[in-house]
Symmetry: C2
Subunit: 303 residues, 2 copies
């Protein structure tokens, strides 16, 4: 199986270590770590770690884009990033010695219409068995970009987006959407033009958004998988402390890596790998021994 | 006249605009500004603004180095940056809507012995009438780097450094050193091996460090110029509120631009341009109308 991940708003994730963040002061940064980021890049990294054939695509430009490409190469993640004239956004996480993080997210580049058209042309030709679309849309890309990509794809699409991009993309009928509970509720409310439709039973059925299946995360409590064949829920083996950033990306990767397994097993894999990602310090990584140890113990319940 | 500025630890200065800095929170950066920085780069920028022929040199590498070169080109500052394998440091200033700034300074690259030797070889051949050495030393460069450059130069050298780099460089006999009062006191104390020598009269004579002249800044109170021909002091036309970053670099630029004028006039120019720099929001810029209006009114006093 070959997977294509699409990260239209990829980022260069920079981490600054300081003693303690003090507003107004000058801080000597003791360590600088730089890593290719963005949700689809994290998914690609996890798939690589699982031994699944994957290519990371998306937009990439400027000096930050060069650093992003260099990190993907260093990490052994195959890439087909589409060059743009704008500069890839950076995120800067300032982490104090006690571990507390303060994040600064750049607005990101403006993608031109010609660049978007160029990417669409490439996307229409690329060979893959599953496509994963992840994260926010950069400036300049149409609001229905994910719907366009879902329609243009000749293979199943997993869509991990938020807000209007999720609602618009889901309406085009992807194979799976993967919102968390908050994102799902917001998308259903925004999608229901008649107030009466926003009743509790409707909010319980994410498939009304248009996707064939939906993996809905309730964070540390677990996940629920809604399909045309039934609904299953599963919880992680224990309540975990750690780094929730990237846990959703790991769940998407697990769902894709287990593509040909029955739904309950795919859900169990997603819950297990998501928990293993919480136990790893960086998004895109996972605690392999935790994953190997606990994946068999997770038994989904049919609702 | 042609000036060469040397910025061994040049930087890419990045400014992030946010609503307000809140430790632990995620901040959406509304605006990102990127600018070539480092003290010698600021001096070169001011000299360009004064119409003086200048070349900015120093070390430059990686993605941040590329952005630095690009900004110098955009700004019309001629450059001869020496390429290194390491990545040029960034400084990130997070500025809130009330104008308060919080600074994060990366440690900067490690310069290899071969890179330092390569720079020295180039420096020994370059044509200039005055050389300006500014700022801190990057990792890997010897602590007496400024002394080596002063000795290797066939033309007068202005040294604007701090700490051990200042003390070591001044001992090699540059034409002018340009410390502020705190830097000067620290350098003299560290230079006097006999405690008895650290008396008040000695602290009053910066020339014991080895330079032929010293321009000493007392911040908003003005500057004192110590030379073999006498000592002069001058104050700015008014106490100024504004951005003191880069004011010292503007004073160095003025001193160099007025190289062939008598000492008191050079001092007056330094005080006037330094004050005009305080009134400009970015280091390397100055308020030209303020400068033109006030430079004639500054009359140095002989001490």
């Amino acid at each position: 199986m070959k997977v294509l991940t699409v990260t239209l708003n990829a980022a260069l994730d920079v981490t600054y270590r300081v003693d303690a963040l003090e507003p107004g002061a000058t801080h000597r940064v003791s360590d600088v770590a730089v890593r290719a980021g963005g949700k689809g890049v994290n998914v690609a990294r996890v798939l690589c770690g699982l031994g699944v054939s994957v290519v990371a695509s998306g937009f990439c430009g400027g000096a930050a884009g060069e650093s992003l490409r260099a990190d993907l190469a260093r990490s052994g993640v195959p890439q087909a990033m589409f060059p743009i004239s704008g500069e890839t956004r950076r995120t800067v996480a300032v982490v104090g010695s006690a571990g507390e993080a303060t994040l600064f997210a750049e607005p990101g580049p403006m993608v031109t219409a010609a660049e978007w058209d160029g990417f669409l042309g490439w996307f229409g030709e690329v060979e893959a068995d599953v496509v994963v679309l992840s994260g926010s849309l950069p400036l300049g890309v149409p609001g229905d970009a994910y719907a366009t990509l879902v329609r243009a794809s000749r293979v199943p699409v997993v869509l991990d987006a938020d807000g209007p991009a999720l609602a618009a993309g889901a309406a085009a009928g992807p194979a799976v959407i993967t919102p968390n509970r908050r994102e799902l509720t917001a998308a259903i409310k925004s999608d229901c033009h008649e107030p009466a439709a926003a009743s509790a039973p409707t909010l319980d059925n994410p498939l009304i958004l248009g996707a064939e299946a939906a993996l809905v995360s309730d964070g540390p409590l677990g996940m629920t998988l809604h399909t045309l064949d039934g609904v299953w829920t599963a919880a992680p083996p224990e309540v975990l402390a750690g780094n929730p950033t990237g846990a959703g990306d790991a769940a998407v990767a697990a769902l894709v890596a287990a593509w040909h397994l029955p739904w309950p097993q795919r859900l169990a894999e997603a819950v297990a790998l998501s928990a293993a990602a919480v136990r790893a310090p960086l998004a895109g990584d996972f605690d392999r021994s935790f994953y190997d140890q606990h994946r068999a113990a997770i038994v989904p319940t049919r609702l």
